[in-house]
């Protein structure tokens, strides 16, 4: 058939273009690989199991927060409240456990319930009042920050019970010491990857992000998908809060502020499109690790951390440019 065999002259450039999306999938791998090779030549302490375990611990909180951010961005939205909602969750957990004397597990559940409720609130404002996600989450970011400061009176909480520190426990794998938290993060990524690619609601999330009108016309309850997405994202912010107190052993009202935008960095570096509907959750894990590798590598080689910020900025621009170019093509 004529349609099946376009002239090879026309096919050559088309073939090249067809490969572009795989650049956004392969890009994160290549960037990570290059960074690892570079830092291995610069510092002999870099390439060790112990150092990689450390990097994973350092990206733990951003990594779990970024699961929620990825879900939101896949629907074509954005969440600016991420880190601040998490901070509120950690304050609720630690103060309920230490000052109200609630059983630690109940306190943790209360903290997660608060972050989940914030996700639900974001979702309700976006779906019911049809406000843009950017504005809604800018608002809830400020609300969560203020509530955290008011509730904690800007004081950190110490003396946390064992259950809150659970994810800081470690086990040995050969020479390497690994925290439970790292295992949880990887397990959560694998779980979400499975749910997104193998379940109907997971595919609906992609469809809503890719073409909301088509999704609606095909009978997908788009508003319910969005509501669920923001709520589940809120749940992950609560888990991230638990991981944070496990790492730092204190409830810190000023936590989460740098992590907030780093989640977007991780998602973008991981090759997920800011236009929605395209991307892989596992890419976000790579994105988070890339940022962690640069921070760790530059510290080991004694370079100012400002350069990590510079390089991250350049990588983000590159990733977003690739995204925009592949969007324009289709």
């Amino acid at each position: 058939m004529a349609e099946q065999q376009p002239s090879s002259a026309a096919q050559a450039p088309r073939k090249l273009l067809e490969r572009l999306p795989s650049i956004s999938v392969l890009g994160p791998f290549v960037a990570l690989l290059l960074a690892v090779i570079f830092f291995s030549t610069q510092s002999e302490r870099f390439l060790s199991g112990q150092n990689f375990s450390l990097i994973l611990q350092q990206v733990l909180v951003v990594g779990v927060l970024a699961i929620g951010q990825t879900l939101v961005i896949l629907t074509g939205g954005i969440d600016l409240s991420v880190g601040f909602v998490m901070a509120l969750g950690t304050m609720v957990m630690s103060k309920f456990a230490v000052e109200l004397g609630l059983p630690p597990l109940l306190a943790i559940l209360c903290g997660i319930a608060v972050t989940t409720a914030f996700g639900l609130l974001n979702g309700l404002l976006i779906t019911r009042i049809r406000l843009p996600p950017f504005i809604v989450t800018l608002g809830t970011m400020n609300i969560a920050f203020a509530l955290t400061q008011i509730y904690s009176k800007a004081q950190t909480v110490t003396g946390l019970p064992e259950a809150l520190l659970f994810w800081g426990n470690t086990f040995r794998l050969g020479e390497t010491v690994i925290t439970y938290g790292v295992v949880l993060m990887i397990a959560l990524y694998l779980l979400m990857w499975f749910l997104l690619s193998e379940t109907a609601p997971g595919r609906h999330l992609y469809a809503v992000g890719n073409n909301p009108e088509a999704a609606r016309l095909m009978g997908i309850p788009t508003q319910r998908v969005l509501l669920l997405t923001y709520t589940v994202a809120g749940f992950f912010y609560g888990i991230a809060g638990w991981l944070l107190v496990s790492r730092t052993s204190v409830g810190d009202p000023n936590a989460g502020q740098t992590e907030n935008l780093e989640t977007i960095t991780a998602v973008v570096l991981g090759g997920t499109s800011l236009f929605g509907g395209r991307g892989m959750i596992l890419g976000t894990l790579l994105g988070a690790i890339i940022v962690g590798v640069f921070r760790n590598g530059l510290t080991l080689t004694g370079v100012s951390s400002v350069y990590q910020v510079l390089i991250t900025g350049i990588l983000v621009i590159l990733a977003v440019t690739a995204d925009q170019l592949s969007k324009r093509r289709s």
């Binding site: 349609e3 067809e18 109907a200 992609y206 469809a207 890719n210 088509a214 999704a215 009978g219």
Partner: protein
């Protein structure tokens, strides 16, 4: 526009069964009475009537802004009319959503196709009604059966012969005609009652347009009545059993393409000729 008299190439395809000689008029499947839809100050539908009969291809034509798309959206549940009633198989129905209309067996191919371009052909065919894996766990987690979806997609697109190599390629890698083929196949595969197509051959080349017409005929011959909106008069005259002419938000006339000329049809459509000036045999009874 070329103004051919009567259907082109009448001998080239079997003419639809002769309905006029049958004593009983075919049963109406989908009807609408006095539909009104306003958008602010714009009246898109101004009390329009509509009737689709069993086993027919009914073309809906009209100038831009005549309310064709709005009529079709009301019939497919995509919008809710302000006034009027819709009757399916003699019973009044109230579609609250496209899903609602689909549950009644009405499938629609929208003008903008309603596909998710980044997703695969198989996923698009089953969008919103994925095949779930059997068993308790499959239903609980709503696990999709990718293999089965791929197989069924392959078999339902097999007749199309539009050179689609793999059902697991993204829809955005397809040509316009192939995308249209996917959207038509999706509705034909699932419709129990009525298939609605909004401009299915617009933006297609001659060859792909003919392929889609052939596909529409096959859908009708399976016993499913088809509503088709089109601007392409030769296509309309080639395929339609009756033509509904929409004008200024109302049904101006229903005409018989085997008796009326394209010139008269276009004249009624544009208002150059009043429907009363048509001879009785030009009208579809």
């Amino acid at each position: 526009m070329e103004l051919n008299p009567l259907p082109n190439n009448p001998g080239q395809f079997p003419l639809p069964r002769q309905q006029a000689s049958a004593p009983a008029r075919p049963r109406p499947v989908l009807e609408a009475r006095g539909l009104v839809k306003r958008y602010g100050h714009v009246t898109a539908l101004d009390g329009t009537d509509f009737e689709l009969r069993e086993g027919e291809i009914l073309a809906v034509i009209g100038d831009n802004g005549a309310g064709k798309s709005t009529l079709i959206k009301a019939l497919s549940g995509a919008i809710i009319p302000d006034q009027g009633e819709i009757i399916l198989d003699g019973k009044p129905v109230h579609f609250r959503s496209p899903l609602d209309a689909r549950r009644h067996g009405i499938e629609t191919v929208y003008q903008d196709l309603a596909v998710a371009p980044a997703m695969t052909i198989a996923e698009n065919l089953f969008l919103g009604r994925e095949i779930l894996r059997p068993g308790f766990l499959g239903r609980l987690l709503r696990l999709i059966d990718k293999k089965k979806m791929l197989e069924e997609a392959t078999s339902s697109l097999k007749d199309l012969k539009i050179g689609i190599r793999s059902m697991s390629q993204a829809v955005e890698t397809l040509s316009g005609g192939q995308r249209q083929g996917v959207a038509v196949a999706r509705s034909a595969a699932f419709a129990k009652h009525v298939v609605i197509m909004d401009e299915p051959t617009a933006a297609l080349g001659v060859k792909e347009g003919n392929m889609v017409l052939e596909l529409i005929r096959r859908v009708r011959d399976r016993g499913l009545p088809v509503i088709i909106i089109s601007h392409n008069m030769p296509h309309v005259f080639e395929i339609a059993d009756r033509i509904h002419i929409q004008r200024l938000g109302k049904r101006a006339a229903v005409v018989n393409p085997k008796k009326i000329s394209m010139a008269h049809t276009v004249a009624v459509m544009t208002g150059a000729m009043s429907p009363e000036e048509l001879s009785p045999e030009e009208l579809a009874n």
